[in-house]
Amino acid sequence: MECVFGMVGKGFALVVADTSAVNSILVHKSNEDKIMVLDSHKLMGASGEAGDRAQFTEYVQKNVSLYQFRNGIPLTTKAAANFMRGELATALRKNPYMVNIVLAGYDKETGPSLYFIDYIATLHKVDKAAFGYGSYFSLAMMDRHYHPDMTVDEAIALADQCIEEIRSRLVVAPQNFLIKIVDENGAREHSWRRTTKD
């Protein structure tokens, strides 16, 4: 089942997500990208109902770029996180989106940052965050081994440990994982961790 997590290191933040599209006991697809590149310096890892996830992440992405076109300046990661929270909070009392979000971003003034946003519109600024069944393992692993000022190599090694733990302990472990990273040079794909071919 779903595993989305992220952490902040020294001058960067990374988001890891499984890439399985699942319905009931059936795996439809094992290369589904669940980490949207919101703008040049923002990553939005999302877990939850597949349709809501697609709808909400695209809605946010389009709003973030509309803001940039209108005003000539990008939203900060903080502003984007609060915007998402507001949208989820409004939807919550009407027809809630079933999505949980790990938002990673890099801003010139504040450096890298990570935000935890769940479907009931909780917003936390954190160093490490996780959603889904994988969170039971990845959170524990990050609690044990995470430290601020991690280098990219250290953080990737920790992410690999998390993935390893999920694969060995979770009954319904997904096959493939995708790692994306954001730093001063922008948001981009880092690498895949595959056990099956597409």
Partner: protein, 297 residues
């Protein structure tokens, strides 16, 4: 056909004699058509006929391509107490002239012309105060709404733009009168630092280093152009603003009761809006030597 021709001739006359003389000589940052210089003295007979035909309609162009009601709104501001804004390297200065309408009128304890929109933006008003109150309220709502959405202070230009969108709406949508107000906005944001904007009833706005609205704004504008220096300090800006206001005001002597002075600046990394007390203002007027009878320029 004959009728049309008479319009043409008056149009060419107008463009040559009184339209748009201002912005080549003004110290502006970006380009904008800010020229409330419609002069009723120079109207010809056919002009007056033409304006009578179209001036009751705010949202309809005259055959000359003008919106008379908008021009009249600008005219109304030309009679209001003036306000001057100056951008300096460490803050923005706003000064305004209060028109004393009656001796019996209780002088208000708070400011009449300066309003704080948000923690980082303030504005000075010239024009119809009742109209201005509505717009100030809209601006405050816009600023708070933005902070509610993004938990970040609203960038100054966005605030100005949202207000000007409201103003513009009244020059295009049915049967309503435009707002008879010009604003000077002073503010600070993390992207562009200190900023000064001027807006008019048509919804035009522009960023300026020094600007004047209200009575005698052209005289003030040209004095500012002459005396403004790059890298001016806030204190020098206050001095310049008081000097220009004293020389362009209709009344003979400048007293603290007729004036308002407000500043936006950074204090320990935080934006501060400060209104000068009448006592301090009085002292400042003496210090800068503006309380003497004004010298002709």
């Amino acid at each position: 056909m004959y009728f049309r021709r008479s319009i043409r001739s008056s149009l060419s006359l107008r463009i040559s004699d009184c339209r748009f003389p201002l912005h080549t000589s003004s110290p502006e940052l970006h380009s904008c058509n800010f020229s409330p210089t419609f002069n009723t003295d120079s109207l010809t007979f056919s002009d007056l006929q033409m304006s009578r035909r179209y001036d009751s309609r705010t949202t309809i162009f005259s055959p000359e391509g003008r919106l008379y009601q908008v021009e009249y709104a600008m005219e109304a501001i030309g009679n209001a107490g003036s306000a001057i804004g100056i951008l300096s390297k460490d803050g923005v200065v706003l000064v305004g002239e209060k028109k004393v309408t009656s001796k019996l009128l209780q002088t208000s304890t708070s400011t009449e012309k300066m309003y704080k929109i948000d923690d980082h933006v303030a504005c000075a008003v010239a024009g119809i105060m009742s109209d201005a109150n509505i717009l100030i309220n809209t601006a405050r709502v816009a600023a708070q709404r933005y902070t509610f959405s993004y938990q970040t202070p609203m960038p100054v230009e966005q605030l100005v733009q949202s207000l000007c969108d409201t103003k513009q709406g009244y020059t295009q949508f049915g049967g309503l009168r435009p707002f008879g107000v010009s604003f000077l906005f002073a503010g600070w944001d993390k992207n562009y630092g200190f900023q000064l904007y001027m807006s008019d009833p048509s919804g035009n706005y522009g960023g300026w280093k020094a600007a004047a609205v209200g009575a005698n704004n052209q005289a003030a504008q040209s004095m500012l152009k002459q005396d403004y220096k790059e890298e001016i300090s806030r204190e020098e800006a206050v001095q310049l603003a008081l000097k220009v206001l004293s020389k362009t005001m209709d009344s003979t002597s400048l007293t603290a009761e007729k004036l308002e002075l407000a500043e936006v600046f950074l204090d320990g990394g935080k934006v501060k809006y400060q209104v000068c007390s009448p006592e301090n203002l009085g002292k400042m007027l003496v210090k800068y030597g503006v309380t003497q009878a004004p010298v002709e320029t």
